[in-house]
């Protein structure tokens, strides 16, 4: 029986559970002996002219070796925007020299012998800033009254799409429009950013950092530091979560490498949580206006989304997220007309990057709210409106009005499975009873149907590298260009190799995140790992069997086609005589048994699903509690249900968190007010139920495994289902829409307003 599809517990866990993983800040590598600690001095003003940085007092403090300011890095060119379509004047200095653009903008770096000394000395660097007006929110940015980059002449980083034609909604019996906010949230991987760097005498630098893709980060390092990438050895040790915020190199990481050269000693940096909450990329941050038009029978004929993406101060991945939101705007529906248009705007806040789902949750949240608004307007059950408009099942590619080509899908079945598992009819009956009685605790039922894109080109090409080697002692090594940070690749990739070779998974080690050992790779992001990296390992295993067959045929003097894999033997046997062949290990003893391959997917895949969420809302306090979350997430063929379920659970939690409570906030002067975990309402176990998972698997033809991505399904499906449920709970009181997060205060106010109060 194949090991694929079975619940294999993780091979990496015993070490994680007894010694703990080895994160960047845990490293005891001898190359880091005597390393200095770097402490960044960051702007405490959102926007202003930097008048002076006086390090004289800090230089006298105990343990201080150097204080680095902008003048020390004058030779290093500022970091250009990461995409060609972004206003080229919006560059990022390594350290602010004439202007600061957000609270957290690095101004200086203190290098000390010990960590505590750095905290002390950083406080002693005197930074004089003449404040300028802050630019908080996309409306302020779009007005161009205050410019972050005066030489750019605008705060618009990039514009996408054209206005809708004037007659776009002509002929619709009902047109509903709503402004909505997909709020800024903080990814908060439990391990914050950390890096370490050491130069060797041959002019190479080894950099360790917590990152989702070593190869991509190395490329950026090379560009930024104007170095040959071959001189950079980048290692990502165990990584304590990423959620998109660790895609690509952070300037601080490259700067740690530069600092090590500058002072001639190894340098380490690990940020504090408060530094993380203002310095690491944030996610989401879209102000959307959605309009939906159709007939009173529930047919939707036209849908439009126009939105502004808050990108924060310097352009990062956030500036490109609108293109994903626009691509996925039609979602699961067959609307005849779909329009999308966006701007990416600079504000004096922390930069926006990718956060679990990255552009797709924003598209789905807008769309699924719009469908509910339309259903409410025509007085029809939202499930019925969805069924009427869902694309019919398809197994041949379907191209949408925004140019996405979906591979396989059956959205109606996904919705029906979720509704059935939820006991939808009974839930509506219970809701009616509570409404009739006027209960304080009202029931809300929310749903979403989603499709997402996974394994899309992340700039590294749609392919992924893998190599596989069997050693004479019977062990094997897989090298992969994907890069786990909790997903369990060590187990999953070993399963794929074991399935074809018969070598037990405990004897297969998986190597990743080391550019000397794996020079090519696309990293782990966009739910690409299994469908690209896993498929590459699958391909490598097939090629290794072919290679072994050729060698064994010569050795055994039989025709290659007469040799078959004998999994019990972990080798090849002559057809019809099991147990009498030669093992892969024996072949490896004669000559190195190694294959290196690259798998290139024909196209991305489009996982889909449906979520149903039940909430209880106290209409007097406004507090909403999620009591049930039922989810169908179809990601094609599942390799390891245990790992796939874990990915789903984590996503649901983050979706619930965004819908109910999490939000990064700034005051009108651009001061962050959620810069610690005491202020940022990070979701805990108490706000969540145990989840109800419903299985559905529609394989994709895009890879031999039939696998689509699963990493982001949870945030895409759960977020609008929770928001819709909260609004549904108070809809009978006249509430039409509540922006996320649907905090008790917001729900309370919405209820008061609907009741005609103030």
């Amino acid at each position: 029986m194949s090991i694929l599809g079975t619940r294999v517990v993780r091979t990496e866990d015993p070490l994680f559970l007894t010694r703990g993983a080895t994160y960047t800040d845990d490293l005891t590598d001898e190359r880091l002996t005597g390393a200095l600690h770097a402490t960044f001095v960051r702007s405490t003003v959102a926007h202003g002219r930097l008048l002076s940085v006086d390090a004289s007092a800090a230089l006298e403090a105990p343990g201080v070796v150097a204080v680095v300011t902008a003048q020390d890095v004058a030779d290093l060119a500022p970091i250009p925007p990461p995409f060609p379509f972004i206003n080229p004047a919006m560059t990022r200095p390594w350290l602010a020299s004439d202007r600061v653009r957000f609270v957290g903008d690095p101004v200086a770096v203190v290098l000390t012998e010990e960590r505590y000394q750095g905290e002390d000395a950083a406080e002693m660097v005197a930074v004089d800033i003449d404040p300028l007006p802050a630019v908080v929110g996309t409306a302020a940015a779009a007005s161009d009254e205050v410019l972050l980059f005066p030489e750019a002449g605008t705060n618009v980083m990039a514009s996408f799409g054209d206005p809708a034609p004037a007659d776009f909604f002509d002929g619709c019996e009902v047109v509903v429009t709503q402004a909505m906010v997909n709020q800024r949230v903080a990814p908060v991987p439990l391990e914050g950013r950390a890096a370490a760097a050491a130069w060797s005498e041959d002019g190479r630098v080894t950099v360790w950092c917590t990152n989702q893709g070593a190869q991509q980060a190395r490329g950026q390092f090379g560009d930024w530091l104007e170095m040959d990438p071959d001189l950079i050895h980048l290692i990502t040790p165990d990584v304590g979560g990423g959620f998109g915020a660790k895609i690509g190199a952070d300037p601080e990481y490259a700067f740690v490498a530069w600092l090590a050269k500058h002072v001639g000693r190894p340098v380490r940096w690990a940020e504090s949580r408060s530094e993380n909450l203002i310095g690491m990329l944030h996610g989401r941050g879209q102000d959307q206006v959605v309009t939906v038009g159709g007939r009173r029978d529930g047919t939707i004929e036209a849908y439009s989304i126009v939105f502004d993406q808050d990108c924060g101060s310097y352009p990062r991945i956030g500036a490109v997220l609108p293109t994903l939101t626009m691509l996925m705007a039609p979602g699961v529906y067959g609307f005849p007309k779909v329009h999308a248009q966006a701007r990416a705007l600079a504000t004096t806040t922390t930069s926006i990057g990718a956060y679990r789902g990255a552009g797709r949750p924003e598209a789905t949240a807008a769309l699924e709210r719009a469908v509910d608004l339309f259903a409410a307007e025509i007085g029809t059950d939202p499930a019925d409106v969805r069924r009427k408009n869902l694309l019919p099942a398809f197994s041949e590619p379907h191209t949408t009005p925004t140019g996405a080509t979906y591979d396989t899908g059956d959205y109606t079945v996904a919705l029906d499975k979720a509704l059935e598992a939820a006991g939808y009819a009974e839930l509506r009956a219970e809701q009616a009873r509570r409404r009739e009685r006027g209960d304080v605790r009202q029931l809300g039922i929310g749903m979403s149907v989603y499709v997402e894109i996974t394994g899309a080109d992340n700039g590294a090409g749609t392919g992924e590298a893998a190599s596989l080697e069997v050693h004479p002692d019977g062990t094997a090594t897989v090298l992969t260009g994907t890069s786990p940070h909790g997903q369990g690749h060590a187990t999953a990739w070993a399963m794929i190799a074991s399935d074809q070779l018969g070598i037990p998974i405990e004897k297969i080690s998986v190597v990743h995140g080391d550019t000397d050992r794996v020079p090519q790779g696309g990293g782990t992001m966009g739910s690409r790992s299994l469908q690209q990296g896993g498929a590459a390992v699958h391909q490598a295993a097939g090629e290794l069997v072919d290679l072994a067959r050729q060698r064994a045929a010569e050795k055994l003097e039989v025709a290659p086609e007469d040799l078959v894999v004998d999994l019990g033997l972990a080798g090849l046997a002559v057809r019809g005589t099991p147990g009498t062949g030669i093992t892969f290990a024996e072949l490896a003893a004669d000559e190195q048994l190694l294959v290196q391959t690259r798998f290139t997917a024909a196209a991305p895949t489009f996982p889909f699903g449906a979520h149903v969420v039940v909430v209880e809302v106290d209409v007097e306090s406004g507090k909403a509690e999620v009591t049930r979350l039922i989810a169908v997430d179809d990601a094609g063929t599942i390799l390891n249900p245990l790992l796939a379920e874990g990915q789903r659970h984590g996503g649901y939690a983050q979706g619930v968190a965004q819908a109910l409570l999490e939000e990064v906030l700034y005051d009108e002067d651009g001061n962050p007010t959620t810069s610690t975990l005491a202020d940022y309402p990070f979701v805990s176990a108490t706000e969540l139920p145990s989840f109800e998972l419903v299985e559905m698997a529609t394989p994709t033809p895009m890879n031999a495994l039939g696998a689509k991505g699963i990493g982001e399904a949870g945030t895409i499906g759960a977020t609008p289902a929770v928001q819709n449920a909260v609004i549904d709970a108070v809809a009978h009181l006249g509430v039409r829409h509540i922006d996320m997060p649907t905090t008790p205060m917001r729900v309370f106010r919405a209820v008061q307003q609907a009741r005609g109060g103030s």
């Binding site: 703990g20 439990l190 975990l677 176990a685």
Partner: protein, 167 residues
């Protein structure tokens, strides 16, 4: 200042700054890096350890306050033969960890939950772990792991005695 602290059954005397946090003492003085630091406001619980039978967040305690005390960290849970503590075993079997950063603190906190309540309900586990944050698992499998560990009986709520670890 001098402190004598027994960590995982190993007594030692060290010279430390009075302001040194127990979390940093464990990591940097004792070289035990399983105990992670995830915040600076005692919010995340990644640094949770057991001190003299009580689960505490080691970023909230000064090393000098632990002078003369017994500390158990994740590294001190498995038996001398490598046998996993019931909570460690349950976390593995129920896939109660992903990136692993919250895990050491979560495991120690789970032991504390089970010490107080050997047979907790889903809700009681959730409330017991409220001070420990996880970004990966959605807590679902952590809750299941704690309940699975409870089936092992009283051992699930105990840390090994010092002499056992030293053996």
């Amino acid at each position: 200042m001098q402190v004598s602290i027994t960590v995982n059954g190993q007594p030692r005397t060290d010279e430390v700054e009075p302001r040194l946090l127990l979390a940093h003492y464990l990591r940097e003085v004792r070289g035990l890096t399983a105990t992670n630091i995830g915040c600076d406001t005692t919010s995340c619980g990644a640094c949770t350890v057991v001190v003299d039978g009580l689960t505490v967040k080691s970023c909230t305690v000064l090393a000098v306050q632990t002078d003369g005390g017994q500390v158990t960290t994740l590294e001190g849970l498995a038996g001398p033969d490598g046998e996993l503590h019931p909570v460690q075993r349950a976390f593995r079997e129920e896939h109660g960890l992903q990136c692993g950063f919250c895990t050491p603190g979560m495991v120690m906190a789970a032991i504390g939950v089970l010490a107080d309540n050997p047979d907790p309900s889903d809700r009681e586990v959730r409330e017991g772990l409220e001070g420990n944050l996880c970004r990966c698992t959605g807590y679902h499998n952590i809750v299941r792991a704690v309940q699975a560990a409870a089936k092992a009986g009283p051992a699930a709520g105990q840390v090994p005695q010092a002499q056992e670890v030293q053996a």
